[in-house]
């Protein structure tokens, strides 16, 4: 029995390593970022310009980067949410069972395409199309980035929403049909509202994924740190800044610390989104 007890304690230890890793992530991000708070001070992060390398005065405002992330994310969600919701409804409610067995894995396949491959596709196929269509000088802009990110969000949202729709009890449907409602009325007035919390959770997971995505946006958004709402303008997201600049900064420099602050902001945003998504799914019994 003593041996069994020791084994159990061993497993508690192993299982706790996830907690340890999360703690270490917070710890080391703050550790690397910390000196910035003394000099030049956290207020510097609120500047409205990001000019990390300059002969006059470096400026480390996260705002333009956040604006880039917001714009690209907004485009991605505007495109992906309606499409994903329609596809999820189709797969869950309309598709033939065999069709569903094929469609769902196929769309989920999209999630396993490496983001650098999608970025590459965006660079060589999508960006030229956008450039031509809008008659621009370059196809590397927020719209191209947003469309690529929509592709990355779609499998998450479709898959999780489809599960949510599937778990709506059959009695709801039967009740509605028995009252003489048509299939579409039943779907839109009964099934989808009942699955709404799950769909909302799916959208949050998708948003988290989009905000955190790096390579695709790095490759196709043009990387200009501007505050703009114009989808056809190049932008620079938070993730892309870290990826593009971290390789070239001297370790420990102020610029280096600023990039860690960008990472912290990213971490907190995605942490918040996941936390809420998890709350929703626990509340509505879609997770253990």
């Amino acid at each position: 029995m003593g041996r069994d007890r020791a084994i159990q304690i061993g497993f508690v230890g192993i299982a706790s390593s996830s907690i340890l890793v999360v703690a270490l992530i917070f710890l080391f991000l703050f550790k690397e970022a910390a000196p910035f708070a003394k000099h030049p001070g956290l207020a510097a992060l609120l500047d409205n310009q990001w000019i990390p390398v300059s002969f006059q005065k470096e400026r480390f405002g996260i705002l333009p980067l956040a604006a880039g992330t917001v714009l690209v994310t907004a485009i991605a969600m505007l495109v992906s949410v309606p499409l994903s919701a329609l596809a999820a409804v189709y797969i869950a409610e309309v598709a033939h069972p065999l069709e569903r067995e094929i469609l769902k894995p196929f769309i989920e396949l999209l999630a396993s395409i490496p983001s650098v491959v999608l970025g590459f596709f965006g660079l060589v196929v999508l960006a030229p199309l956008i450039k031509q269509f809008f008659g621009l000088n370059t196809g590397l802009n927020a719209l191209t980035g947003g469309l690529l990110l929509a592709l990355m969000a779609i499998p998450t949202i479709v898959s999780v929403s489809e599960d949510a729709i599937n778990s709506v009890p059959a009695t709801y449907r039967n009740g509605s049909m028995a009252l003489g409602a048509s299939r579409m009325q039943t779907i839109w007035r009964v099934v989808v509202p009942a699955a709404l919390p799950g769909i909302l959770g799916a959208v949050m997971l998708g948003t988290g994924r989009v905000i955190g995505e790096t390579m695709a946006v790095l490759m196709v958004t043009g990387n200009a740190a501007l505050i703009t709402a114009n989808p056809l303008s190049p932008v620079r997201t938070m993730t892309a800044s870290i990826a593009a600049e971290m390789g070239e900064v001297p370790f420990g420099s102020i610029h280096y610390q600023a990039l860690f602050w960008v990472g912290i902001v990213l971490l907190l945003i995605t942490f918040g989104l996941n936390f809420i998504a998890r709350r929703i799914s626990v509340r509505y019994g879609m997770m253990r």
Binding site: S16, A87, I242, A243
Partner: protein, 283 residues
């Protein structure tokens, strides 16, 4: 009559949207295959790159990615399985279990570039591993941990309670029961999780950008403290940093094809393994 039309139009809209998505996925795959496959030959796969990747093959990137994924799984698999065993077999509802689950969901949501920053701060700098296979594998291992935990736990829970009881009633200790009457029947799920983890590790660029990847390094790694090239990073470099990106477009497609084939091949493998084991063990 009108209502009938309405219904038909709605179904059409739903179906059209779904197949439009399918069409886009198919188009991306086809585009990469169509342009990538003709580039693939033995020389491309087995030769060193020359002139900063403008010519020659991608051998070190393939090997680097292989080593990285193997290292990742070697680290993440034991921890992932152990955590899954704890969650499915030992954990009682309570504070600790809740916290572990929250940590796992948190990890699953951490952006990959943040893993890169973390790996840089902890493994590369603090542990002084430098940019290396070791630092990269450790970073990727933290990233794929949730995937492995979740799939493994699912498969452990799918093993009927009756097996555990039969084993315990024969005088097995709890651990013996887990080892002999639970784990053997969940291997399929565990292997699936491992393969999905490998696939994810193989395809990620952002975390290795800061912890291991070398721009151009035409030799094979000799130790876990060496830097390596990796397929996704190589593709990124060729596509965006190369002075003459148009000229090396075929090489980009070739690299993208190899990477995609590897990652999708792994996903397919995971599916096949699942099917195979489901047939072998049915209860």
């Amino acid at each position: 009559m009108n209502r009938q039309l309405h219904e038909t139009a709605a179904v059409f809209l739903l179906r059209f949207t779904t197949y439009a998505i399918v069409g886009v996925v198919g188009y991306i795959l086809l585009d990469i295959i169509r342009h990538g496959l003709p580039v693939i030959n033995w020389a491309f796969l087995s030769e060193m790159p020359r002139r900063a990747g403008s010519e020659g093959g991608i051998l070190p990137a393939i090997v680097g990615t292989l080593y990285l994924t193997l290292g990742t799984v070697a680290i993440a698999l034991p921890v992932g399985i152990g955590t899954a065993i704890y969650l499915s077999e030992y954990a009682a509802p309570g504070r600790l279990t809740e916290t572990i689950r929250l940590a796992i969901t948190t990890l699953a949501g951490v952006p990959s570039i943040v893993f890169g920053l973390f790996g840089l701060g902890l493994f590369v700098l603090f542990c002084q591993f430098g940019p290396s296979l070791l630092a990269g594998s450790l970073t990727l291992a933290c990233m794929v941990l949730p995937t492995i935990i979740v799939t493994s736990e699912e498969s452990l829970r799918a093993v009927p309670q009756a097996f555990r009881q039969a084993s315990l009633a024969l005088g097995a200790t709890k651990w013996e029961a887990i080892r002999t009457a639970v784990l053997p029947y969940s291997v399929s799920g565990i292997i699936t999780g491992a393969i999905l983890g490998i696939g994810r590790a193989a395809g990620e660029t952002a975390p290795i950008l800061l912890t291991v990847a070398a721009f151009f390094l035409p030799k094979l790694p000799g130790s876990i403290f060496d830097q390596v090239m990796a397929l996704p990073y190589h593709l990124y470099i060729l596509a965006t940093q190369h002075p003459d990106t148009d000229k090396v477009l075929p090489l980009q497609y070739g690299t993208a094809f190899v990477l995609l084939a590897m990652v999708l091949g792994l996903s397919l493998g995971a599916i096949l393994i699942r099917v195979h084991f489901r047939r072998k063990y049915k209860w």
